[in-house]
Amino acid sequence: MPAIADRSSSPFKAMLAAKSCELAGSGGCCTPQKRRLRSDTALAAKESPVSTPMKLKSPRRRLDSSPSSPANRIKKDPSEKTLKKCWNPRDVEQMRAVKEAVHVSTAPSTVVCREDEQKRVLDFCKACVQQEKAGSLYVCGCPGTGKSLSMELVKQQVIDWAKMEGLQSPEVLAMNCTSLANTSVIFSKILGMHQPKKKSIGSTSPLQHLQNLYSNKQAQSSSKMMLIIADELDYLITRDRAVLHDLFMLTTFPFSRCILIGIANSIDLADRFLPRLQSLNCKPMVVTFRAYSKDQILSILQERLLVLPYIVFHQQALELCARKVAAASGDMRKALSVCRSAVEILEAELRESASNTGLTSAEGDFVSPRTALAYEVFPSQENNTVRIDHMALALSKTFRSPIVDTIQSLPQHQQIILCSAVKYFRGGKKDTTVGELNKSYIDICKSALIPPVGILEFSSMCRVLNDQGLFKLGQSRDDKFKRVTLKVDGADISFALQGVRLFRNCLQ
């Protein structure tokens, strides 16, 4: 495993020492100057119980590693909540903290709105460990609904619970099936957990070895239970569905020791790909993680923002975000990404206003740090929180497709081609050839008194439109006979082109 020498912090300390006074001065693009070092905060913090010998831990990891800390942070004095002060977006530290709080990779300390599902999975695992029985569970749900996150927490909780109860805590094998080179590698991994020292015998495959192991009673009472969490289970689906089947069948053996939890997106994976299990009466239990509703998204966002001692978002902005994302997909990652981009829009707005006022007031003189700080001293209440208009802009950026903008900025002849395609396909036809489209295009050009281009130029413009994803061109030896279909809705094109009189008349 490669190792990079830890960067000495001396070159960066120099940067920290120099105050960034370019905030107001440069009119062009400003890059944030101060660099936050993880090593600095880690030095200041106390040692956490679990630490790697070489590297210093970042504050984020510190919080997650000790199991007892999550509870402390959330308990806030009720009187404190009402006295939250406004944040100062020009402070680089605060901006960074806000962005970190809303980043997808920051794992929250508790997982709200998933208590039921977690409880079900936890009870199932507890029962299996207590009775020393094997079992299988299937977790399904749309992406971004908190499945992997919940399984991480359950994993930890099972180990803690087993320790508390005095039972043997199970060994855990958590893996993502996309990283497997071959679908049957999973069996050798399971075998490796069972017998870490022994080398696998050449003649029997790992699968057969495991099957043998589980069919015979060989000092089973001493060996531990094994908790297997397989993420993105549908990568194991092969044409004959053998691997998936064998994996779940492992839990049906009389002396099997594994508790299998599979995570995937499709709801009916168990029914479609594991029909034989039903006859054996060992169908896996299914826990569905539904897409988040508006209230759930709102409460999760608020939970995340509780760690910050100041108010960043307007309540209505958060509600708008939650409502829009819940209506679209219920995907939590999207909500977080929208919040982050709203914060960035606010940041850009403040930067622009600062540079504008800075430029006008400086009149060519060097802007001293004092005037830059003056903005920080008097922040106005309204300008500091992320308002509804920022959130609306962020939402439109995320959800709107760039098609309308692109069509409006196409050169004129390509717009005429699109217009002629819309007109041609209005009659109910679905596709046509380039030659026919050319005739329709020439008609429109004639009516607009624009000289049409030749067939060569026309087919190369069709190819450009195909590259951009607006058309779909089929294959043919002769250019004229390639089949053309529209990939964009005709209504979108009409909407985009309605500003130009020519197209308005054409498309009436």
Partner: protein, 421 residues
């Protein structure tokens, strides 16, 4: 004599300067990127915040071919490498070469090894390579180094099982790694090609590269074609060159010319190519750019090979093509040599033209048209039949024929009249 030679040398120098400018993408895109809400500054802001604030990001650059996506990206990367020399390492993948997962991981491992001066083993397996990549991401994250993945032709990575994309984007979801994934594509709907879970991990940021507005284009042309005052060329020559250029650019005819060109293809790449051609036509003895240069460039850009064929045809051949056109208009589905001759005779009878030739001469003309590929047989089946009986079709559209007739010297007026009807 000496003065002329001197002038030629000067103009050659100026020409070389202009041509080298037009081939340098850095020079072309820098003036367009100066404003604070250009794509350059937005991209730079996003990447630099990821570097300094140690958070992960992913972004898509979309736009038609030639609109400068990769050029602007390279500008941003080179600027950032100057600003933070130790904190960034760049991995470049291309969808045309590395769309297969094994290949892509091997390439990533190789580039990482090159950056950090480690030994790369060619026989490392897929598993080894992916472990290596994850380990490197972790190490770089701890050492405050950001890895920037540039995925060119992003659409090709979205084929198949999208394993590489998933593992890259998933690695970015963890706290340990510090990476930025930048996808470049010319398809607008490339994120619809992604699987649900990959799309969910992608941060939905898109930067659109649209063509600049008309005023920006004019300013851009002026900026590129003006010679700099501090070059090695003599001052008065430069001043005169720039003065004449300014006059040319404000000429109405020039504006019309540029408008015509830009109504087909609006991207910067096309414009630069056009300017390169125009500049290459510069008359070295005069030493200055003129409107004629641009006109020649425009016409050489819009070649129509069929029109050039028509220019080489004889008058009889033109007659035959017009007859075939008329037959088409009369909705005769297929026609052969004899039906064309009938039409030809009827024209002669009604208009009393002077160009009436015998059948064997017409047959020669017919065969010549076949050779030029202005007409062709409808199908290849009738090899036994002689040329006169096989049905033919016209390979040239009526608009092109009309245009060809108009540009033909000494075209008989009757033909134009017949075409108009």
């Amino acid at each position: 004599m000496g003065r002329e030679k001197e002038k030629e040398k000067l103009s050659e120098k100026a020409l070389n300067l202009l041509r080298s400018r037009l081939s340098d993408p850095n020079f072309i895109f820098r003036p367009l990127s100066d404003s604070p809400d250009s794509n350059y500054s937005k991209l730079k802001f996003i990447i630099s915040t990821s570097v300094t604030e140690a958070c992960n990001n992913s972004i898509l650059l979309l736009g038609p071919r030639g609109s400068g996506k990769v050029a602007v990206l390279e500008l941003v990367l080179s600027d950032l490498l100057q600003q933070y020399p130790e904190a960034i390492s760049v991995i470049r993948l291309n969808g045309l070469l590395h769309s297969d997962d094994n290949c892509a991981l091997k390439e990533i491992a190789r580039q990482l090894c090159m950056e950090h001066q480690l030994l790369f083993s060619k026989v490392a397996s897929f598993d080894d390579n992916s472990q290596f990549m994850i380990a490197m991401l972790r190490e770089c994250g701890l050492a405050h180094k950001t890895i920037i993945f540039v995925l060119d032709e992003f659409g090709f990575f979205a084929q198949g099982k999208q394993r590489l994309l998933y593992s890259l984007l998933d690695a970015m979801q963890s706290v340990n790694s510090q990476a930025v994934v930048i996808g470049v594509s010319c398809r607008l709907d490339v994120d619809q090609l992604l699987e649900k879970r990959v799309r969910s991990r992608f941060s939905h940021r898109k930067l659109l590269f649209l063509s600049p507005s008309k005023e920006d284009t004019e300013r851009f042309i002026e900026h590129i074609l003006s010679l700099p005052m501090d070059s090695s060329l003599p001052h008065n020559y430069t001043a005169e060159f720039n003065g004449r250029l300014k006059k040319l650019l404000s000429d109405e005819r020039f504006k019309e010319l540029i408008d015509t060109y830009l109504s087909f293809n609006f991207t910067i790449g096309h414009l630069v190519r056009f300017l390169f051609q125009a500049v290459s036509y510069m008359d070295l003895s005069a030493g200055f750019l003129s409107l004629g240069n641009f006109k020649t460039a425009l016409s050489s850009n819009q070649r129509q090979p069929k029109l050039e064929c028509i220019r080489d045809c004889s008058v009889l051949e033109l007659y035959m093509m017009v007859c075939m056109k008329r037959l088409e208009v009369k909705e005769q589905a297929s026609y052969n040599f004899y039906s064309v001759m009938t039409e030809y005779k009827s024209i002669h009878d009604s208009f009393q033209t002077s160009d009436y030739y015998a059948a064997n001469v017409c047959l020669r003309a017919f065969e010549h048209l076949l050779q030029c590929q202005l007409i062709s047989f409808i199908d290849n089946k009738g090899h036994n039949q002689s040329v006169e009986f096989r049905p033919v079709k016209l390979l040239i559209s009526s608009a092109e024929l009309h245009q060809g007739l108009k540009s033909y010297q000494q075209c008989p007026a009757i033909l134009l009249k017949l075409m108009d009807r």
